[in-house]
Structures are given as C-alpha cells and as structure tokens.
C-alpha cells in the first residue's frame, strides 16, 4: 500500500505540514507557515530534496526528509534544533511556535512505517485466505495435465511427443491442450499474486527448442473453437543449447505465443529461436493491431493494454506483464518492435509486431 493513500485519508491528520511523494497532505494539525505560503505558494521548493535528515531552506525555514516504504516524506515549514535563523519581523510569523526536533520527526515516520506494515500484513493475510480455495484446483489441473500427457504417450504412435500428439484422436488432443493451458494459466496466476514464485525451486537445464516445439504443437491444436488456436504458427532458426532457468521460464514463450494467437489478424505467426554468442534469442512475430511508441513500456505493466488491442479483443493486460516479470527474474528482457504494414482491417491499421526475448546463457 502507498503511504500517500493512508495519509491523504481524512481520518488521519499529519502533525506538521507534510508532502508524501508528490502529494501535499491536507489539513495538518500545525498549519502551513506564513513564510512557506508567501514564498512557495504551490509546492514547497524543498520538495526536491532527496537526502534524509534535517535541512534548512534559503528562506530560513527547517524541513525534514525521510523515506516511508520507498516514498519520500517531507515535513516542511518548521524550526529544527539546528535552525539559527534570528527572529525578526520578517521571520517571526514563519518560525514562532513551530519547533520540531529531528527525533520527533523520526519517531513519527517510524510509527507510520509500523502502521503501513500492519496494514500490508493484514492485507496479505486476507489475500491468502481469499486465494486458499485455489489450492485444490491447481493440484487437480496439474494432475489432469499429467494424465493427459501420459495418455498421449501410451496410446499414440510417433517418435516424439509432438508426433504422438498429432496422431492422437481429437478428444485427447483437446484434453491435452485444455489441461496444458489451464495448468500454465494457474502458474501465471500464482506469479501474478506472488511475484516471488517466479524464482521458486532451483534452476535446471531446459531445452529451449524442445519447450517451444511442444508449446507450438499445443497451440496448433484445433479444439473446435473452445480456445483460440492457430495452425499458422511456424518455427524456424537453430538452437541446440539448453538454458539454465527456473520452472517458471516456460511461461515466457507461453505468454508470448498466447499473445500472438490472440491478436494475430493476418498471415502466419513466425517463431524464431536462435543460438547467439551470449544468449538464446526467441522472437514471436505476428500481424495485428499496431503498438505505438508511447505504449511500448505500458503494455508490459500490470493491466497495461495497447489502445488498438483494447478495441480488438477483451483482455486483462496480464500476460505480457508476467512474461516480463519472469524474464527480469532471470536477468533477461523482452523487447517489442511494431512496424505498420500500411494495410488496414475493418478500420484498424495493421502492424508487424515482434516480441523478442534474449535469454542469457550463464
């Protein structure tokens, strides 16, 4: 929870004039000094100070700075112990009756830190209680997925899992796809609620090519329209190296492919996987709604969606956010390029969008 959210509540009055982050707290117990009102009518000039402790502004007034859960807390327009500004007819109104010691300020910040910690603890406990019913469905999803994969291996012929899947009956293919999507979606959900889950367990060697090939085989399955599918996904490139990653890594290509299948409007989805000198590079290219330059950061933020994408299909703005979060947890980064093709579909301009991941080889 942001400190400003609590301190801007009318239920809480700050003891002194205060700025939290960039917001001035309303109605402090000690009103804003005349000097501050006169010299800094909109925002105190001292609100740019980043060093913690007691300071004095050029108008002879003391201000204190500290940090509360990463947000800067500024108490201004007071007279600290180190303030030697003499009283005169100009400074009297701005300094009289406004003595605050650094210790008092620190005690106040400490009590706020404690309050925020309690609120956050209570929130996380409540969240854990609310999510508790997910425990069994997650177990069952994995169980169904395991059994579905085992059935493919037992009852279908083929040299690889992809071939076996290809030779499986429609119902079994559908079961594999649905259970795989369900299981991976639950994994994404777990990381959404607890980002630390991206790095649970130890890293192990994963065949990037094997993983992407299997995912493509699953996304290609046509389950009769129950989920979106695309038989137009093609994999090219050469990658023989294993990557060393947490289990969550598989969710990155899952999220990128899922995104491409969802927003692809024309042509094929091209997946390119290549060994590079220091990394493995995965790129997913499709033609869909354009991503403007000012959206290229936003679409990777929590619940962030592109303007054109929002008009096209319903979405939560979660997949790319989680893919980036998992990539960052592995010291990698996902970049995006979007070049307009010049064509349009139902009034929507089309662009060739490429999401690329460069995964470092340890």
């Amino acid at each position: 929870m942001q400190a400003s959210a609590i301190l801007n509540s009318p239920a809480i009055r700050t003891p002194w004039p205060t700025v939290i982050g960039a917001t001035v707290a309303s109605s402090p117990v000690l009103c804003v000094s005349d000097t501050c009102k006169r010299r800094c009518p909109t925002l105190p000039a001292c609100s740019t100070e980043l060093n913690s402790g007691e300071h004095q502004c050029k108008y002879g007034v003391t201000f204190f700075v500290d940090f509360l859960h990463g947000q800067r807390v500024l108490v201004y327009g007071v007279r600290g112990e180190g303030n030697k500004t003499p009283f005169n007819r100009y400074t009297k109104d701005g300094l009289k009756g406004r003595s605050v010691r650094l210790e008092q300020f620190k005690e106040w910040v400490s009590s706020l830190t404690d309050l925020l910690s309690r609120v956050e603890k209570s929130f996380s406990e409540r969240q854990a209680q609310m999510l508790d019913p997910l425990h069994d469905p997650m177990r069952l999803a994995k169980q169904v997925n395991t059994i579905a994969n085992r059935l493919v291996q037992l009852h279908s012929n083929g040299a690889s899992f992809e071939q076996q899947l290809d030779n499986s009956p429609f119902e079994l293919k559908t079961l594999v796809k649905a259970s795989d999507l369900l299981s991976d979606s639950f994994d994404l959900l777990a990381i959404y609620f607890n980002p630390d889950a991206a790095t649970f367990g130890r890293k192990s060697a994963i065949s990037a090519h094997g993983l992407v090939t299997k995912l493509i085989a699953i996304f290609r399955i046509d389950d009769g329209g129950i989920t979106r599918s695309s038989a137009r996904i093609f994999l090219t490139g050469t990658c023989y190296r294993n990557i060393f990653a947490h289990e969550s890594f598989k969710l990155i290509p899952f999220a990128l492919l899922s995104n491409a299948v969802k927003y692809s409007l024309q042509g094929n989805i091209e997946v390119v996987l290549n060994d590079r000198q220091q990394h493995v590079e995965l790129s997913v290219t499709s033609v869909g709604p354009p991503i403007d330059d000012d959206e290229k950061v936003h679409i990777f933020e929590k619940r962030g969606r592109g303007r054109w994408a929002e008009k096209l299909v319903d979405g939560r703005g979660v997949g790319l956010y989680l893919a980036q979060l998992i990539a960052q947890a592995h010291g990698a980064h996902i970049g995006v390029r979007s070049n307009r093709t010049g064509a349009a579909l139902d009034g929507m301009p089309l662009a060739r969008n490429t999401f690329s991941l460069q995964f470092p080889i340890a």
Partner: protein, 254 residues
C-alpha cells in the same frame, strides 16, 4: 672434532659416501616409518579406501539414502514406484514438532507446508522447515505445495533446496532425488568433505573422528553414536552430517 675430521680424511671416498649416505637414508626411512602412522591417524580422507571409487556409484547412494515424505495427502507422491526403484521411503501424514529431531536424520525430505504438523496445522510446515534447517543443514528439502500464490509462503519455498508442484510424477521425484543424492554422496563431495574437515578440525579432534569413522565401518558403533561423537568434535551440524555420510558410504561399500 679434530678426531672425527681425521677419521673421515683417513677413510676412502667410497667409504665416506656409503657411511654418510647410508646413515641419512636410514634416518629418513626410520623417520617416515615413525611419522606415517601418526599422520594417517589424523587424515580423514584416508578413511575412504583406495578402491572406494570402483565400488561406489549412483545406485549405492540410493541404497543408503533415507527419504521422508511429509504430506497430509500421500497419494500425491508415487511412493510405491519409488520403493520398487529401491529407495528407502517413509511417509508421514502428520508429525509433531517434538519429532523434528527424528525427521532431521533423513537425507531427503519432501515437505508440504500446510496440515502436516499436528500441533500447528496452519503454520507448522513453516516452523518445521526452519527447525530442520537448523538441526541438519546438510539435509535436502524439496518444498511441495500448491500454495505458491501465497506471499506468506515465500519464506517456506525460499528455505527449501527445491520446490515442486503436486502431485509429483515418478519421473519428477526421481530427478529431484538423483540431484540431491549427487550433492550428498558423490565421490567428489565425500572427498571435499574430508578435506574441509581436515582443515577445520585440530589434530586431536581429527584423530578422534577418524577412529570413530573406522569403528562405525567395522560395526562397532551405531549411526546415532557416531553422530554424537562427531557432533562434539566438529561443533558444526552441517559438517557432522556430512562426515557421517562418509562413514555410511564407506561402510556400505564395504
């Protein structure tokens, strides 16, 4: 002194060579013969016999390793398959915190977070993992829980050596166990442990450790007695368990 010089001057060069050289060789031979058993008595790596490498392999580790599954839903583990593979597996649906010391003697523990501790079903798993870590840092723990979404469970997963989602397949279990056993019982790990102990312990303590490791190999001590002695000598729970592993491996390789 002059008499000695005169004696050597009067003798021929060959006589001098044989006399002085022979004396030096004899003294060295006697010195080495005297020092070798004293050195060997304090060298922990000497407990590992020369032919150990030939006798020790992955399946040997499998035969001595003890595995505990602590989960209120034991059906989530392929226990029968693991047993038929030859692993020594013990399943606990619930434990009490007072039994933690017993659980700490296992080499590998698959541990669930919730509902496994009778005294505290809600947070017992968290307490249990911290206590197991304290009692036996050499133990390998695989956290098995579907509560990855719970931010309050992060500390539980972070303390484990690995984390897996339930239900576990036999393939997943075998892979986890194989990695853990390699980290506990590979020849290199056993040798590194012996070297580390040689550096850390004083000579007197090393001698006691070596004597007791040998006694265990001959069946003159139980594993608990051995652990107790080494614990006093090493004053380090991690090193204690790892040194005990050397004795178990050597005894098994026979």
């Amino acid at each position: 002194m002059e008499q000695i010089v005169q004696f050597f001057n009067e003798a021929g060069w060959l006589a001098n060579l044989l006399g002085i050289g022979g004396s030096l060789v004899g003294a060295s031979w006697f010195g080495i013969g005297f020092a070798r058993p004293r050195l060997a008595a304090s060298r922990i790596d000497k407990v590992i016999p020369l032919d150990f490498e030939r006798k020790w392999n992955d399946s040997s580790a499998k035969e001595i390793a003890r595995i505990a599954i602590v989960d209120d839903q034991p059906a989530d583990f392929p226990t029968a398959e693991l047993k038929s593979d030859g692993f020594q597996v013990q399943t606990y649906k619930q434990v009490t915190l007072s039994k933690t010391a017993q659980l700490a003697t296992y080499d590998i523990v698959f541990l669930d977070m919730k509902g496994v501790v009778k005294d505290d079903p809600e947070n017992g798993g968290m307490k249990l993992i911290a206590e197991l870590r304290r009692l036996n840092p050499a133990q390998k723990i695989c956290a098995v829980s579907s509560k990855t979404f719970d931010i309050n469970a992060t500390a539980f997963f972070r303390q484990a050596d690995d984390a897996k989602k339930k239900p576990l397949t036999a393939h997943e279990c075998r892979a986890v166990i194989k990695t853990f056993l390699n980290e506990q019982f590979s020849l290199q790990v056993l040798r590194d442990t012996a070297q580390e102990a040689t550096k850390k312990l004083t000579r007197d303590r090393r001698v006691t450790v070596v004597q007791n490791l040998r006694k265990f190999s001959k069946g003159e001590l139980t594993i608990d007695q051995l652990r107790e002695v080494i614990s006093k000598m090493a004053s380090d729970a991690n090193l204690t368990y790892r040194l005990t592993n050397i004795a178990r491996a050597v005894a098994h390789a026979g």
